[in-house]
Amino acid sequence: MTAVASRPDQGTTVLLPTDVPLLPPATRRSFLRTLASYAVLWLAGALPVALDAGDRTQALGLGLALPGGGLFHAGHPVWGATALAAVVLAVFAWWAAGPTVLPPVVWLLTAVLPAATLDDPAGSAQAAVAVLAVVPVLTVLAAAGHAVRHASQRGRGAALNRRLAEVRFPVTGAPSYPMDFPVVEHTDEDLRRLRAALDLALQPVEDFEGFTHLDQFREGALRYQLNALGYGLSMAQFTRTPAFRGYLAEAQRNTIDKVLQRRVWGYWALENAWGNLRRDKDPVPMGGNVMLTGFYGLQVGMYSLLNDERYFRPGSLTFRWDEDEAWPYDLPALAGNVRANVRESRFGLYPCEPNWIYTICNTFGLNTVLASEQLAASGEAGDVQERLRRSYESEFLRPDGRIVGVRSSHLGLSWNFWASPSVQLATTYWLHPGLPDLAHRTWWLIRDGWLRVEDGRVRTPRSIVSRLDPGSYKVGSDTFTLAVTAMAAREIGDEETARAAEATIAERPVEQRYGTERVADASGLANSYLNLGRFGRRSGLRDLVAFGPPREWRDGPVLDEAAYPDVLVARAVSDGAALDLVLAPGAGPLRTRIGLAQLHPGASYDVRGAREATVTADSQGRAALEVDLGGRTEVRISPAA
C-alpha cells in the first residue's frame, strides 16, 4: 500500500455554478438546429394531408413525420411499431459505433417502403392528425419534463452549495522533492499482479493472447485494454520503481507499439466513413476520435515522463494502413491535435465517435496536453484547460453537480442516465490532473449520496449500472466499479474508501498461473484498472501528468537491465547520485547480472548487496553487477567516498 504524502494542502472551496441555463449556449444551438430540421420533415408530412394529396404521398409524408407513421395511418400498428423500433435500433447503433447515416436511411426506408408497397395505404384524417401530433407533443412534454427536472436540480444545487461553502477541498499544488514523491516497495501480491500485466505486454507486438477480443468500437476494444495496461505499468514505475527501466520500460513501449497495429486503430476508417462521410483513414483527425488520440496520448505521455523522449521524434508514432498509406505522428503532434480540436469545437469538448461527445474521453485529451507540455511546452495548455473548465461547468454539468456523460453534437441531446455515478467516478480520477477542484467536488458528491462504506467494505447500489464490466460487456459483478472507486479514492486522498474498495475486491476469487495473479471473472480492462488503483497514491496521476517526476529521477542512476522473470524489482529509486534497489527472485534462487546506466562516466561507486564491493562506470555511464538472489535483496550503489 502506498504511503500518503504529507504535503501541506491548499484548502479550496468549490461551489456549483448557480447560472447553469436550461439549455447551455452550444447545446441550445444544436437543439434549435435539430428542431428546425424536424420542422421540415413535419411539413413534409403535414402538407400532403392538408392538400389532400394521393394516399401514397400521404403515407410517405406521414412516414417522414414519424417513423412508421404511414403504417400507423393505414391501420397496420404492428408494422408501424416495427418500423419505429427499427429507427430506435438504428439510433442505438449510431450511438454504439457512430454510423451517422444509419438513422436517416432507416427512417427514409420506413417511409418509402410502405408508401410504395402497401396495397391500400389510405387512412382516416383523424389518424393522420394523430400521427402528426406525436413528435410535437412528445417534444413539448420532454421540454416540460426537462424544465421541471432542471428547476429541481437547481434547488438541490442551492442546498448543496450551502454545504459546499463549509467544505475546504485539499487540492494539492506542485509537489516538492523528495517529500512529495514517496517510493514504496511492491508487496509479493503487487509483484504477482504486476507480472500478469508484464506477461501481457511483453509478448511479441503482433500477438494479443490473453486480451479480450470482442469488437473494436466500444469499451471492449483492444485499444482501451492496451491503454489501461500501459497506465498501470507506468503508475507502478512512478510509485515503486522510478529508477528501473529494463523490461518494465520495454513492456510499456510494447503496449504503445501494439496500438499502432492496424487491427487496433483501423476501426476509425470505418467510423469516419459511415459517421462523417469522409474516406480519410487518418486516425488523428480534426473533429473526433479523442477516444484514440486522448487515451493514447496519455499512455505515451506517461511513458515519456518516466523514461525517455523517443516518442517526441517526428514519425515515432506512425499509423500504417498498408505499403502505400501511413500517417506519421509523435506525442507533441497528438497533443497539438487535441489542442486544435478543443479550440475548434463550439462545445469546447469534442467527439469520440462521430457526433458523440463524452466528458470522460475529453479528460484524457486534457491529460495528453498536460503530459506533453511537461517535456515540450507549447504555451497553450492553460488555454485548453480554461476552455475545458468552462465547458465542464456549463455545457456538461447539471445544476445539481452531476456531470453529463455524453451529448450529441449534432442534436444537442443527452441521456439522463449518462449522468450516472459510474460516469462521475471515472471522471473524478481522470479529471484530477487538470481540473483538481472539479474532481474533488465530484468525489464529494459521490461520497455524499451514492457510495457507502460500511464495516470497511464498499457497498455499491444493486443497479445494473454498477454491475457492468465494460471490458467484457458482462453484467453481474461490481468488480469494475470497485476498481474505479479504488483508483479515484486513492488519487483524491480518500484512503479509507480506497482501502475499503480493495478489501471488498480481496474477497473475490483470484486466478494464479506461472507466478502471476489476476482477479477471476473480471475482464482484462478491469484487472488493469485494479492495478492502476493498487499502484496509485494520493495525487499520483496529478503529480505525474501535471507536474512530472523530479529531475533527480530522470537523470540519476537507473537499473537498466535485468532478466525476467528471474529478477523482480520491488523498489528502485535514485536521489540523483545513488541508486537503491530491492530485488527478489521470480523463478527461484539464482546468481544473475544486472546492468546499470546513467552513472557518471568513469566514476567509481561503492556497492552494497552485490558480489562486487565497488564498480566503475564506463565511458557511456554504464556498469554491470553480479547479484546472488536467494530472497528479498537490498542493493545500494552510491558514489565512492
Binding site: V78, Q203, P565, G595
Partner: protein, 188 residues
C-alpha cells in the same frame, strides 16, 4: 452507463445465440498471457523448438447438418408465426395442426440427433442444414399445402422468403470449397 448496460445485454444475447449455433467459434476466455522471458541484457531467449504436429478433431459433419436442420426449422417456424401476425401474409385454411406437429417433431428429432454426435461443429454443414430446411419448409407450406400467401409485394417477398435458403446453401458451398487442412503446430 445504463445505455452501456443495455448495449452489453444486447451484445451478450447476440453472442450467446451465435455461439450456440457455432460452438466451435467461441473464443477462449481472456486472462493470462504466455509467460514472458527476458535475459539480463534485455534480449528475448529463443522459443522452445516445435517438436510435433497434431491433428485437430474432425468436425462432426452429420451432427452439424442435423443441428442446422433443427435451427433452420425453428427459425422458419418463428418467422412464419411472426409474419402471420402482420398484414403481409394472408393465412388460408389447411392442415395447420398436422403441419405444426410435423414441424416440431422434425426440429426436435434433428436437434436430439445432432446433439448426440460428438465433435466440433462444422459451420458449412450447419449452414447447409439450415438452408435446406428453410427452403423445403417454405415450398411445402406455400406451394404444396397452400397454407398461406403473401398479400403485399408478393413477388419480391416471395423471392426473399424462398431465396434466403438457397443463399445459405451458396454460403455453405463457398465455405466448403475454402476448407483448409486441419493440422496445426503443437507446442512441446
Amino acid at each position: 452507463m445504463a445505455c452501456c448496460a443495455a448495449l452489453a445485454l444486447l451484445l451478450g444475447l447476440v453472442r450467446g445465440t451465435w455461439f450456440r449455433v457455432f460452438p466451435g467459434r467461441r473464443p477462449a476466455e481472456p486472462g493470462f498471457a504466455p509467460p514472458a522471458r527476458r535475459s539480463a541484457d534485455g534480449t528475448t531467449p529463443a522459443a522452445p523448438a516445435t517438436t510435433g504436429r497434431r491433428r485437430t478433431a474432425r468436425p462432426a459433419i452429420a451432427g452439424s447438418l442435423l443441428l442446422g436442420t433443427a435451427y433452420g426449422a425453428a427459425a422458419y417456424a418463428l418467422a412464419i408465426a411472426v409474419l402471420r401476425a402482420t398484414p403481409v401474409v394472408r393465412t388460408l385454411d389447411g392442415p395447420w395442426a398436422a403441419r405444426d406437429v410435423a414441424l416440431v417433431v422434425l426440429a426436435v428429432a434433428a436437434l436430439v440427433a445432432g446433439l448426440s454426435r460428438r465433435g466440433p461443429a462444422s459451420r458449412p454443414a450447419l449452414l447447409l442444414g439450415a438452408g435446406a430446411a428453410w427452403t423445403e419448409l417454405g415450398l411445402v407450406d406455400m406451394h404444396l399445402l397452400g397454407l398461406f400467401e403473401l398479400r403485399v409485394a408478393a413477388l419480391p417477398l416471395d423471392l426473399l422468403l424462398h431465396g434466403s435458403g438457397p443463399l445459405l446453401l451458396v454460403l455453405a458451398a463457398r465455405r466448403l470449397t475454402l476448407s483448409r487442412p486441419t493440422t496445426e503446430a503443437s507446442p512441446t
